[in-house]
């Protein structure tokens, strides 16, 4: 275990920039001169090796950060979030709304057996479902239905194109094809 590697491990794992004095205190083998030396050597290694990160001086301390030229890639990466696929609960909720619309939150929750608030919000943010009216009864609950974005995304011309597979669960298939009164 060399001084360079100890300094590298500390810079990597630290939450904040570290001063030379702080680094020197970490191990008996280190002193401030040795730390300065290690920092200089690591910089050379990172440059020569073409590393995407480097050692930067911040507020009197040192920190390992990605080089600024990668900012664009990182930003773009963030713009394509991990969650660009819908989760299983979101897919189920979407299916229920698609086949049962217009449908209230209570009914969705009754079918799935779990609360639907978070998932409904996700689907609304994605503009796949929206509020299409209010139901009868206590509190006149909001009713949800699918949007134009939903049709466009899944390549349907109208709701009549929604496939009705044979194994569609009874709770989903209750809404009749024949009820196309809006057309």
């Amino acid at each position: 275990m060399h001084a360079n590697q100890i300094v590298e491990a500390l810079l990597f794992a630290s939450q904040a920039p570290l001063t030379v004095a702080e680094l020197a205190r970490a191990d008996e083998e280190l002193d401030e001169d040795r730390v300065e030396e290690a920092l200089a050597e690591l910089r050379v290694e990172y440059d020569r090796g073409g590393r995407a990160f480097g050692i930067f001086e911040l507020g009197g301390g040192y920190q390992i950060l990605t080089r600024p030229e990668y900012a664009r890639v990182l930003e773009r990466f963030d713009a394509v979030p991990v969650s660009s696929r819908l989760s299983a609960p979101a897919l189920e909720t979407l299916a229920i709304i698609a086949y049962r619309q217009p449908v209230g939150r209570a009914e969705v929750e009754q079918i799935r057996g779990v609360s639907a608030g978070g998932v409904l919000r996700t689907l609304q943010e994605r503009d796949l479902v929206g509020v299409v009216g209010r139901g009868e009864g206590l509190g006149r609950p909001l009713l949800y239905g699918t949007t134009r974005t939903f049709l466009e995304h899944f390549g349907f011309n109208s709701l009549d194109d929604l496939p009705r597979p044979e194994d569609l669960p009874v709770v989903l298939s209750r809404h009749e094809i024949g009820s196309d009164e809006e057309e």
């Binding site: 979030p81 299916a95 994605r126 044979e166 989903l172 024949g178």
Partner: protein, 242 residues
Amino acid sequence: MSTAVQDPFLVGLERFQGPLDLLLHLIRKQDIDIFDIPIARITEQFLAATLHVDRLELDRAGEFLEMAATLVRIKAQMLFPRRVEEEEDDPRADLVRRLLEHEHFLEAAHLLVGAERDRARYYPKGYVEVRAVPPASEAPLETSWEDVRGAVRAMAERLEEPEPGYRITGRMVRVDEKIDLVVAALQERASIEFSALVMPWGTRLHAVISLLACLELAKQSTLTLRQASPFAPLWVYRRGAG
């Protein structure tokens, strides 16, 4: 008798996570063969330990007292004669099974502790630059209809079929809707088996309403209904066909 009570290993129940833990501790500490537990002795020791139960919170106390009752019951059952060769007859069998299972999960937990300790030796980056993450709605959606189909299939397996006649308010099955459906079906095909009209819904309600729709259409001479014999499949024919 009271010597067991004074046993030095009986140090407060707080250190035991539950009655199974305590019981296992008593057995292992005394090198008792778990397949031949001296139930009278263990029961006595367990009861002595649970005397301090009033110091515990109420729900924990309940757990210990329930086990005490089980032990007392087993002790009583042990007094009845039983055939030696039949393991199942041993009143202790179920308790032994639970103790072994508990012990194995203790072991598994121990393995997890080891894994956690090993993993903790690898440190992640302490500081990660903060980047503004755009809202998810701006990201392209990578979900296909096949994904939705998968969810539907999973749901079909998961969800119980509701009892026949189960209806959601405001979503009654209407005869005129069924009539439209039957007429539409007969525009595509000259004949269709009645059950095929009902299959997508599968409930008795839909079957009844569909039948009413067919009878209504038969009355209007829009279609004819045929059945070769009682209980044979019912066929629906377009007028003029068949």
